[in-house]
């Protein structure tokens, strides 16, 4: 039991743990194999108010802090990383609204997002603009009382299933770095908004990653979130609060791998004894569990500091994501090793966990970008 969790958080976590273990875990292999977005899991999470957790109570949410949401992402990812990502993406796509949306905008979208009736997505990345938002080419120009958006976004999680997508587009190319972007919510079905293709991926295979094309999409000014030119700031503040979600997914994946490896080591008999009796196996399990717990504690600490509004939130967000992502990769790799040949085949879940873990080192900023953020904060004396 964690010293920092409230009894209520423990109760909420345990409820989702049970739900994940009994209802989502049996689906995980199938979701991965078929590469289908798990609508049933979305429905399950919606019915049990898991989406609602992080939204403000006045807009149909449960008003819980970032940490509680991360606990849920962790528990679901422990059995199925694709399903854990469903929660992480929903939170990500709502953050621009939460951070910069008007009361009217929140009233319009939050109840549907909190109930799981609506899904959202976050579209910042482009083919030529991954780690560097300065490369963004998508343009939004004034068009009467609204805007016209043209451009292409790539690697957008849930882009093909989202009802609303937060799109970051250049509104003033002359304004210079950090002032040229604005944020718009584009709704599914708006003329000119198309899903161009879905990526074939190594892991999180049930989570659709889409290329989105905006061809003269007319968006009313009411869908613009924040001030014109505020987009970069909104995006960066969003990442401060969303990177812990990726870290939570990574911690969950790592814990899931520890669970499987420990159970397997106790059952698998070689040389007449369970392999758990072998000290070399014990050492691996001990390291895996310790790293996972360290990642978890750093994540929880980061959540509390970000929630408290500390000035170096970016550094904490980057640190927890960096450490948890690397931990997930290392621990799942070791889990495959503990299972030996069985770890490499689809009969056991650890090969899937290892493939899923890799993404946590890549999205919402590669590990290299996290290090850059951390180093910058350190060197600027924050």
């Amino acid at each position: 039991m964690s010293a920092r969790l409230t009894p209520e958080q423990v109760e909420l976590r345990d409820a989702v743990r049970e739900l994940a273990r009994e209802r989502i875990a049996p689906r995980a292999a199938e979701i991965d194999e078929r590469g289908e977005f798990p609508r049933d899991v979305v429905e399950l999470l919606a019915r049990h108010d898991v989406f609602a957790l992080g939204y403000p109570a006045e807009y149909g949410g449960l008003g819980e802090p970032l940490l509680t949401n991360c606990l849920m992402i962790e528990e679901v990812s422990r059995v199925c990383a694709t399903s854990g990502l469903v929660l992480a993406v929903q939170a990500l796509g709502s953050l621009p609204l939460l951070l910069a949306g008007s009361d009217e905008q929140k009233r319009r979208w939050f109840p549907g997002l909190a109930s799981g009736e609506l899904l959202d997505a976050f579209a910042l990345t482009e083919a030529g603009a991954g780690s560097d938002p300065a490369g963004i080419r998508t343009r939004a120009v004034r068009d009467g009382d609204g805007w016209r958006i043209d451009g292409t976004k790539r690697f957008i999680s849930h882009g093909s299933v989202a009802d609303i997508v937060a799109v970051f587009a250049v509104t003033d190319p002359e304004a210079g770095r950090h002032r040229d972007l604005s944020c718009f919510y584009v709704e599914r079905g708006m003329p000119g908004f198309e899903v161009a293709r879905l990526e074939h991926k190594m892991g999180i295979r049930g989570s659709p990653t889409a290329e989105l094309v905006f061809d003269g999409v007319r968006v009313p000014d009411a869908n613009r979130v924040g001030e014109v030119g505020e987009g970069f700031r909104i995006a960066m503040r969003t990442l401060d609060r969303s990177r812990p979600g990726v870290a939570a997914q990574a911690v969950g994946i790592a814990q899931g791998a520890v669970d499987v490896a420990v159970a397997y080591a106790k059952e698998r008999v070689q040389f007449g004894r369970p392999i758990a009796d072998q000290q070399m196996v014990q050492a691996m399990l001990a390291d895996m569990a310790t790293r996972t717990e360290a990642a978890r504690q750093l994540l929880y600490e980061a959540c509390e500091r970000i929630e408290a509004g500390e000035r170096d939130a970016s550094r904490w967000a980057a640190m927890c994501k960096l450490f948890a992502g690397d931990t997930a990769m290392a621990v799942t790799t070791d889990a495959v090793q503990v299972l030996g040949g069985y770890g490499y085949i689809t009969e056991y879940p650890v090969e899937r966990m290892m493939r899923d873990a890799k993404i946590t080192q890549l999205y919402e900023g590669t590990q290299q970008i996290q290090r850059l953020v951390i180093a910058r904060a350190l060197l600027s004396g924050q």
Binding site: E8, L12, A15, R23, R47, H48, D49, V50, A52
Partner: protein, 259 residues
């Protein structure tokens, strides 16, 4: 419609901690009895359909609170918890007496109880309570259909040859089975709301029951001894191809004179 669900907190099956050789440690690790969750689910559905209030009634030590809170999170409006140190070790007879006394202080149209408990009171407590209260008793329910306007309840009761449709005026006591349908998981909103729901704690004094008439001292049954059952020798493992495997099964059965 007012429904009271009798909810027992039992040790997790297969995970019981034993003390003094055979007594089960009820100080930790209790969960709601399986059949009780089925009747709770049936009750919640009826409240959704007809309106009203569902209250749980539990007799048990402090760790029973976990099961009670889960029931509140699932949708029960409030809970009554009969708790008294003198109750420890009560037999089925005393349990029936205490729960009947508690129910006589509550208002209800229906009382639901699980057809039996996993920690072994033999499925007799429901019938005993109904008898004490002078209420109709409808047991082994696979379906429960109250008719509030007629003031009656109809139950599909599992019988040795199929099922009986039985009916009685309310208030009545119904013992239900797994066929009532899977219990729901509590929603997170339900869990958060449960924290502000009322759990009333009643002592034996509140119920006007003499402490010496319950508990292990008053139990009319005693355990003489408890031993682990004889261990099985361990399985002979067969991994042959189907033809040979089938042959080996038949030989095995023949050797034991089972065919």
């Amino acid at each position: 419609m007012r429904i009271v669900v009798l909810l027992k907190a039992v040790p997790v099956v297969g995970n019981e901690k034993l003390v003094d050789g055979w007594r089960v440690d009820r100080s930790a690790g209790l969960e709601a009895n399986g059949n009780d969750e089925y009747v709770l689910e049936a009750g919640l559905k009826l409240i959704e359909q007809h309106g009203g209030e569902l209250v749980t009634l539990t007799m048990g030590p402090t760790p029973a609170l976990e099961a009670i809170r889960k029931a509140l999170a699932m949708g029960a409006a409030r809970a009554v918890h009969v708790q008294d140190p003198a109750l420890a070790g009560s037999d089925a007879l005393a349990t029936g007496r205490v729960l009947a006394a508690a129910l006589s202080r509550m208002e209800y149209d229906l009382v639901f109880v699980g057809a039996d408990t996993s920690d072994g009171q033999g499925g007799v407590v429901g019938a005993a309570i109904a008898t004490r209260l002078g209420s109709p008793y409808l047991s082994y329910a696979a379906r429960i259909e109250p008719d509030p306007s007629a003031g009656t309840v109809r139950v599909r009761r599992i019988s040795a040859t199929g099922y009986d449709v039985i009916e009685a005026p309310m208030p009545a006591l119904v013992a239900g089975t797994q066929l009532l349908g899977e219990p729901r998981y509590p929603s997170l909103r339900g869990i958060m709301q449960a924290r502000s729901k009322q759990i009333a704690t009643w002592s034996l004094a509140d119920l006007g029951i003499d402490a010496s008439s319950v508990g292990s001292g008053a139990s009319l049954t005693d355990v003489d001894s408890a031993t682990p059952p004889p261990a099985r020798a361990g399985a002979t493992v067969v991994r042959d191809a189907p033809d040979v495997a089938a042959e080996r099964i038949v030989e095995f059965l023949a050797a034991r004179r089972l065919i």
